[in-house]
């Protein structure tokens, strides 16, 4: 698989069509993978692909990284879940489909965090895989220019399973005070480092609402009261767009269960508007369109 990937990268860079291949490479001790930006054909041996390849590299194609854009047309090594983000970015006009070469990787799951795989001796086992991998329906890349690796015949369970779904049910069973208390406990830990925003390929605004200070919409101190507004706004801005790649929760230094709130909103969007983000770059995100006839309004009195 890796040999095939390197061969493909070499071919792309050699043709002169591609300026940079964004992929995964080892760190010095081979205990983590780290993003690599290959611009020369002879460097393609740095590329690797394995269970450590947790990161969603699509973030490097956003406007947050103009220096990557300056390297020329990019080819990106992407798992199915990363391609979902690319699909949303294309749907939102961040770049055209032809502007990026997608090297789709067939995937048999990655770890929830790289340190967990390392602790398990470099082996991946189901217990350390994130919820998205257990319910993955894009292990064979759904949008790509080239597919690397053998086709897998993994079929996700009909009813999605995993801790996130259990947690959603558990929270929904609480009363309003209980739900508020649950999130208060988590949000009050937030240190406003904005790692969740930086790591997200769909949080690509040039100026985030938190950075605007006339007026100061989101309180800049990491106080529980202002933390609510940040975390709620982040969730709201990703509603109908989030592909549940799980990067925000992985990046969160204080372990706020952001996956739970993101998944909850994804479920709401699916129930209300029959929309699942990241599957079709031709479909608009549900929050920017409307349906006069079919949008229900039973909650509007």
């Amino acid at each position: 698989m890796e040999a095939e990937l390197r061969e493909k990268a070499k071919e792309l860079l050699g043709s002169g069509e591609i300026g940079v291949v964004i992929g995964f490479g080892w760190n010095k001790r081979k205990t983590r993978t780290t993003p690599v930006f290959i611009t020369k054909a002879e460097d393609t041996d740095k590329l690797v692909f394995n269970a450590y390849c947790v990161n969603n590299l699509s973030v490097y194609l956003t406007r947050k990284y103009p220096d990557v854009k300056a390297m020329g047309k990019a080819a990106i090594v992407a798992k199915g879940c990363d391609i979902k983000n690319l699909a949303v970015m294309i749907a939102e006009g961040q770049f055209k489909r032809d502007d990026t070469y997608i090297i789709g990787m067939t995937c048999s799951g990655v770890g929830y965090k790289q340190e967990l795989i390392e602790a398990n001796g470099g082996e991946l086992k189901p217990e350390i895989m994130p919820v998205k991998c257990h319910n993955c329906d894009v292990r064979n890349p759904h949008i790509s220019d080239a597919v690397i690796g053998e086709t897998t015949d993994f079929t996700p369970p009909e009813e999605p399973v995993g801790m996130v779904f259990d947690k959603i049910k558990q929270i929904e069973a609480m009363d309003a005070k209980g739900r508020f208390g649950f999130w208060e406990e988590h949000f009050s830990r937030c240190i406003k480092c904005y790692a969740c925003r930086q790591v997200c390929s769909l949080c690509y605004c040039d100026r985030c609402i938190t950075d605007k200070n006339t007026p100061q919409w989101i309180d800049s101190s990491a106080h529980a009261r202002g933390n609510f507004s940040w975390n709620l706004v982040r969730a709201m801005h990703l509603t109908g767009r989030c592909t549940f790649c799980g990067e925000c929760e992985r990046a969160c230094p204080v372990n706020i269960p952001l996956n739970v709130i993101n998944k909850k909103m994804a479920v709401v969007m699916e129930d209300a508007f029959d929309h699942r983000s990241g599957y079709d770059p031709e479909v608009h995100p549900p929050m920017i369109v409307f349906d006069i006839e079919n949008d229900k309004e039973e909650f509007i009195k």
């Binding site: 309003a176 508020f180 649950f182 009050s188 202002g226 507004s229 709620l232 709201m236 949008d295």
Partner: protein, 168 residues
Amino acid sequence: MSEELKKVATGFEPKIMAFVCNWCTYAGADLAGTSRMEYKDNVRIIKLPCTGRIDPLFIIKAFENGADGVLVSGCHPGDCHYTTGNYHARRRWRAFKNLMDFTGIDETRLQFSWVSASEALKWVDLINKVTTQVKAAGPFIEYQGLSEKYDDGLGELPAETEGESKEC
């Protein structure tokens, strides 16, 4: 509930923020006023051009600055002055309502409504209903209490932010 809070609760008059659109609900509220209809004075109205202009952040900010309840209202579907603003709002509200519900701010504190320019009676009923409802629910101590509960002397909101809601 502590004794002190009970005392607060007994003489409690809720603060309710109403985010309304200029063309329908505000005109409806205006009609209620010019028709000399009486309704609960707990409501503070903020007029916006359209329901499509109502950013969910406004609502969060209202709660953050001490509102006990929030009401959002605009033109009935099909009546939007800007043709489609309320259709967009309707979608956004569905998402936002669910988000707020999931984080413990349920429909007792956050209400959505359509009130047209001629529905002064509906506006009066709505305000009375929402006021009673929020009064029964009591002050929103969970949110408002966050300031003191997590006060480490570092995380105080600047004074002018505190005052924002009082002006309206």
